[in-house]
Amino acid sequence: MSCESIKDLILDYTADELDHVERLRVENHIKDCIDCNQFLLYARNEWRLLEEWGNIDPSGDIINRFWKRVSDENLGKENGIFNFFKSLIPSWSLIPSLSFVFAMVAASILFTYLSNQPVSYTERDKRDEELLFELDRTLSINNINLLEIYGPWDDKLIKN
């Protein structure tokens, strides 16, 4: 068996997770392999070294502290901003009508605001206006030229 695959087994060996056959396989290999023997030492010491970081014990009365926290959080929820607004609403059934009223008020405010906005003309608007005047003038001249085929105006007819 190669040293690389034995190293995986050595890690399990030090964590005491191997069956009897695999343990023997590791022990036979490390008898003749200096490198794996050294690795076994490191792995074993590493696993033991982790135990140097001992456990700690909780301080004080954990159960009372826990229930105090639960009641504090419940109290916090009751006094929360959401609950404040919730208390303002007398009934959930009023929500559709309140929403409609709110939407109408918002729409009228928006309409008032937009209708009070001053009208401003840009350079482009002025140019468009001049073009429209020009078009109007051109059409008027064309109409006069077309009417000339009937000859000059008969003043008698206008007087009658």
Partner: protein
């Protein structure tokens, strides 16, 4: 003795005294898990309370499909990862910041030399564990310190048993490499 699941079902039915028993059984192990993950004793107490609070809040939706402890450690792991990431954004907390108060609260430590040695070892081990990827770290802490099986760890972190084994092996190889100066020669 009632099982954890039976106790949870009692809590679900509104019997809060059953939750006291669950706290008594698992508080210490959850706290130590969080402590090894964050290396911050004071926060560990606070986070442990939060873990149990989350368990208590979600008791209505609890389904006894998995082992209670794996569910508990799943909540603890998620909370730790979130808090550590948030803390890393806020500040870089050094172990030196907490080591001064930490050891004094441990009733088992009385000797000054012992206190200093333990504090140094804790820092060395925490730094080494902190330098390896999250999943490897969680797997090692749960296997080594909390005594969870590979199957249970797989359930906690949501992967296959083979993956957990790989995480533990890879993590340990990295730890051996980083801790070599403290592992001694033959």
């Amino acid at each position: 003795m009632e099982s954890d699941i039976e106790l949870m079902m009692r809590v679900k039915d509104g019997d809060d005294s059953a939750f006291n028993e669950l706290i008594r059984r698992h508080y210490r192990s959850v706290m130590n898990f969080i402590y090894r993950f964050t290396s911050d004793r004071e926060n560990s107490e606070d986070l442990t309370q939060e873990v149990f609070l989350r368990v208590y809040r979600s008791v209505k939706s609890y389904k006894p499909e998995a082992k209670f402890t794996t569910w508990l450690f799943k909540i603890a792991t998620n909370l730790c990862i979130t808090k550590v990431k948030y803390r890393n954004k806020e500040q870089t907390l050094s172990l030196d910041d907490v080591s001064g108060t930490e050891g004094l609260k441990d009733p088992k430590i009385s000797d000054g030399f012992d206190l200093k040695y333990r504090s140094e070892m804790r820092k060395i081990i925490f730094d080494a564990l902190n330098s390896i990827p999250e999943r490897e770290r969680v797997s090692i802490i749960l296997c080594k310190y909390e005594g969870l099986s590979y199957d249970e760890v797989a359930e906690v972190i949501g992967c296959t048993v083979g993956a957990v084994k790989t995480y533990v092996h890879r993590g340990r190889l990295k730890l051996i490499d980083r801790l070599k100066p403290f592992l001694g020669e033959e």
